[in-house]
Symmetry: C2
Subunit: 127 residues, 2 copies
Amino acid sequence: MDVDARKRLPLFPIGIVQRLTGLSARQIRYYEQHELVHPARSEGNQRLFSFVDVERLLEVRTLLDEGLNMAGVKARLAKRQNRRRSDSAELTDEQVYQHIRQGLLEPRTPSGVSEFQGDLFRFYRKH
Amino acid sequence: MDVDARKRLPLFPIGIVQRLTGLSARQIRYYEQHELVHPARSEGNQRLFSFVDVERLLEVRTLLDEGLNMAGVKARLAKRQNRRRSDSAELTDEQVYQHIRQGLLEPRTPSGVSEFQGDLFRFYRKH
DNA sequence: CAGGCCATGTCAGGTTTCCTTACATAAGCC
DNA sequence: GGCTTATGTAAGGAAACCTGACATGGCCTG
């Protein structure tokens, strides 16, 4: 499984994203309204943000600081978009969750104690 | 900032952790009660789990599958604990949040467009 | 300068998610 | 059979989130 699938996994409620980005909930929702981010939703309709979403919000904030308006930011981000989109197989979120759950069913140390080398670990360490 | 600080950052509510681990909320709280995990709490007393917590829960699940009981799991995990605990400077969660927020205020590409190399990126990629 | 627009703040009313506590139960063990 | 252990489930309440509406300060622009 590539890193992208994990980066796109819906993980954070808006409250955490506020702390990660320094943006207010109002700002985040406003940016979504203007299609600068597209967080997933829980069954109960609550926003769930991925790492990609958070990164994007950090970029939005930077571009706004530079004096761009909503449309300007959107255009800037759209450009980048073209340099990506070269993904391989798509996975559903549930498949990624499942994969992570099985992360520790993999190789162990001689002592039999896991060494934390499950798939989850690759969230922050490129093995 | 080392990776550990990010791994310990309180990020996930229990609902997400359920999906990441395949455990029920009841199980997760029960394990906490038996001191197998120690999630942080929000101001409103809601549990907030870090990557370390999630990894730990995945381990707990594995060990339980192997037939250990609460005490057994705790003992096993305690052993590993001794191999760690060689950390350097401690940072408060708020400091880590702040650092992440400034992630995109760093170097840019010649085009002026960020290349996503902020600190957040190191959650899953060891630069 | 008056009038607009844009980005954000704030409040209200309602829903979802989470909290603790308590009771129920299946499985394993003496 | 009668414990203990791990888990399910329900109740009542609190926290966090949702949408929609209105308010406002800063900036243009005529």
